[in-house]
Subunit: 327 residues, 2 copies
C-alpha cells in the first residue's frame, strides 16, 4: 500500500479555471494485483486541450485527465520491468496501478534530457509533425504561418517547416518570445500580436501569401490569415485556444476559402500512430543536431498541477509547461 | 451592325446592391470578323457569386460578368454553325461577338426544356454534383444537411443525396419553400430558418449527426451545423451568402472541427471539368426520370438583370433565377 495524492476537478469552471475548481485529495494505492504494474509519476503534462475537457469529458472528483511520464516501481506484468521509464495517460496523481494498456515504455536516449519525451519527442512533437506534414501536406519551400509559434506545438511546427526549406512567419504574444523566434529559432519573420496589428503586419511579412497556416488560436489570428491564403492552401487545425474559455470574436473571413479552394481540417495526435517510428527517428536526429530548439516552463511540486493548467491561458509560460514531481 | 444593349455596373454597391448601381447602355455590335461568331442571348443567369465580384473583379462601365445561353446568328468559325445553341460567359448583353473561346455548343435534349441547361444541367448542377460527390466525398446512406436547400444549387445537392440513399435535411427561408422540400422533393426533414430556431430544430431532426454539411450560407447556419458534425465529417463550402453584403455574425463554433477531424473545403464549378461527361449523363437521366425536380424564377425582359441579381438577396426567388430575353 502506497500513499498517493490526486488532483481532482471538484466543480466545472466558467471561463478561465481558478484554483478553487480543483482539490488535492490524499488516498492510498494498493500493491499490484495479477498482471498489473505500479508507476510513480515523475513529470505531468498540462496542455491547452485539457480546458475543453473540463466542461464535459472530465468527470468530477477523479484525477484530472492528462499525460505523464513515470518509473515502474512494481511489476507483475511480463511486458514491464521495475525501473522502466513509461509514458502514460493516467492523469494527475503521484502513483497509479495499471494493467499496462495505454502505457508505453520509452527508450530514453542518454544524450537527451528526460523532459523532451514530454514535448518534442512526445505528444506535442507528433502533433506538430503529423499536423504539418500529413494534414497540412507541406511541400518543400512553401510559405508557412504558425500561430503560438513559441509554444510547445507551434515551435516544433515552425522548425520542421524551416528544416523543409520553407519561408516561416510565427505569431506569439510577447517581445521576449518574438526575440526567441527570430534570434534563436531563426524564423523569417515574427509578430508580437500583443504589440503589433496582426493582420497588417502579417500581410507585410508574407508578400507571397500563405500556403499552410498552422492553426492553434482561432479568432483574430484565423481572420488575419484567411485573406492571405494562396489557392489550394491548407489550414491544419490543431487548436483554437482563443475560444476555449468562451471568449473571442467570431470569425468573419471564412468566405475566402471558397475561391481559394482552401482546405481546413481538424486533427488530434492519436491520428498519427502510423507515423510514430518515422517521427521518433527524425525528431531524435533533429534534436541532437540542434535543428529543433525548445523552451520549457517547469513547475516543481505535484500540487502545482492546477496552477500550471491555469497558467497556459495567461500566455506567461514559454514553450512546454510541465509539472515535475521528483527525480 | 446590330443594335445591342448592355447592363453596366456604374458604381460599387455598399451592402445589398440597388438599381442605381447599374445602367442600361445602348451600343452597336459589328458583323463578325475572321474566325468570329455572333451570338444573340436568350437566357441570362444571375447567381449569388456575382455579388462579391461587384466589389473587385467586375470592371465599371462594362457588361456585368455572368453566364448565359444564346443562339449563333453569324459564324465565320468552323466550330460553330448558325442556329447552334451555346452556353457562354459573355455577361449581360443582348448580342456579342466572340472568337469561340469559352463558348460551348450544347446538344439540347428535345425532352427537356431549354432552361434546365442554365441550372440542373448547367453551372449550378455541376457545382452541386462535384461539390457533394467529389469535395464532400459523399457515401451512400450518410446523414446530409443542406443549406439554401430550395435554391438552384442546394435543391440539386439535396436530391442527389436522396438518390444516394442518404438521410437529408434542408434549411430554407420560407414556409412555401419548406413545403416544397417536404412534399415535392421528399426530403426527410426541412427547416424554415425564418420561423424556427435553426440550431435546436436541426439537432432534433438529425439525431445521428451530420456526415456532410453542404455550405451555401455561412454565419448562423454554419454555427448550427458545426456542433452536430460527426467524426470525419465534411463541409464542402460552395458559398457563404450571409456574408456577401458585409452583414452576418462571426462564426463561433469552429473549434468543433478539431476533435471531429472535420474537413471544410472551398471549391468552384470550374474545378469539375473532369466530371462533366459523367455529370451530363447522370443528370439527364435523373431529370427525365423525375428524380431531380427544380423550381425556376424567370424574369422576362433584358432590362431586368439588375432586379434579378438584387432579388437573390431578398430570398424571394424560388430555385434558379433567370432573365429571359426572347425565344
Amino acid at each position: 500500500m502506497t500513499v498517493n495524492r490526486q488532483i481532482h476537478l471538484i466543480k466545472r469552471p466558467s471561463g478561465v479555471p481558478s484554483l478553487d475548481d480543483f482539490a488535492i485529495v490524499e488516498t492510498t494505492t494498493p500493491d499490484v494485483g495479477a498482471g498489473e504494474i505500479q508507476v510513480r509519476n515523475l513529470l505531468m503534462s498540462v496542455d491547452p486541450y485539457m480546458r475543453p475537457q473540463l466542461d464535459a469529458n472530465q468527470p468530477l472528483n477523479t484525477p484530472l485527465l492528462g499525460g505523464g511520464l513515470g518509473r515502474v516501481t512494481q511489476s507483475d506484468n511480463p511486458k514491464f520491468a521495475v525501473g522502466d521509464m513509461v509514458r502514460h495517460s493516467a492523469g494527475q496523481q503521484e502513483v497509479f496501478n495499471s494493467d499496462g494498456r495505454g502505457v508505453q515504455v520509452i527508450n530514453v536516449d542518454p544524450d537527451l534530457p528526460l523532459t523532451v519525451y514530454m514535448h518534442a519527442l512526445g505528444g506535442t512533437g507528433i502533433t506538430a509533425y503529423g499536423g504539418l506534414l500529413e494534414v497540412g501536406a507541406l511541400k518543400d519551400g512553401e510559405q508557412v504561418f504558425v500561430s503560438t509559434a513559441a509554444g510547445a506545438v507551434g515551435s516544433v511546427v515552425a522548425q520542421i517547416a524551416k528544416i523543409k526549406n520553407c519561408y516561416v512567419v510565427g505569431a506569439t504574444g510577447s517581445a521576449d518570445k518574438k526575440a526567441w523566434l527570430l534570434d534563436e529559432v531563426g524564423l523569417d519573420g515574427a509578430i508580437d500580436y500583443q504589440a503589433e496589428p496582426l493582420a497588417r503586419t502579417l500581410k507585410g511579412l508574407m508578400p507571397k501569401g500563405i500556403d499552410v497556416y498552422f492553426e492553434n488560436v482561432g479568432g483574430a489570428h484565423l481572420d488575419a490569415a484567411l485573406p492571405r491564403m494562396n489557392v489550394r492552401g491548407r489550414i491544419p487545425v490543431c487548436g483554437m485556444i482563443s475560444t476555449y474559455n468562451g471568449g473571442g470574436e467570431g470569425v468573419r473571413n471564412l468566405s475566402n476559402i471558397i475561391y481559394g479552394r482552401v482546405r481546413m481540417e481538424g486533427f488530434v495526435a492519436s491520428d498519427f500512430g502510423h507515423l510514430n517510428a518515422q517521427f521518433q527517428s527524425d525528431m531524435t536526429a533533429w534534436l541532437k543536431a540542434g535543428q529543433v530548439k525548445y523552451q520549457e516552463t517547469i513547475l516543481d511540486g505535484f500540487e502545482r498541477g492546477p496552477e500550471g493548467l491555469i497558467g497556459l491561458f495567461s500566455g506567461k509560460n514559454s514553450g512546454k509547461m510541465l509539472i515535475r514531481l521528483g527525480e
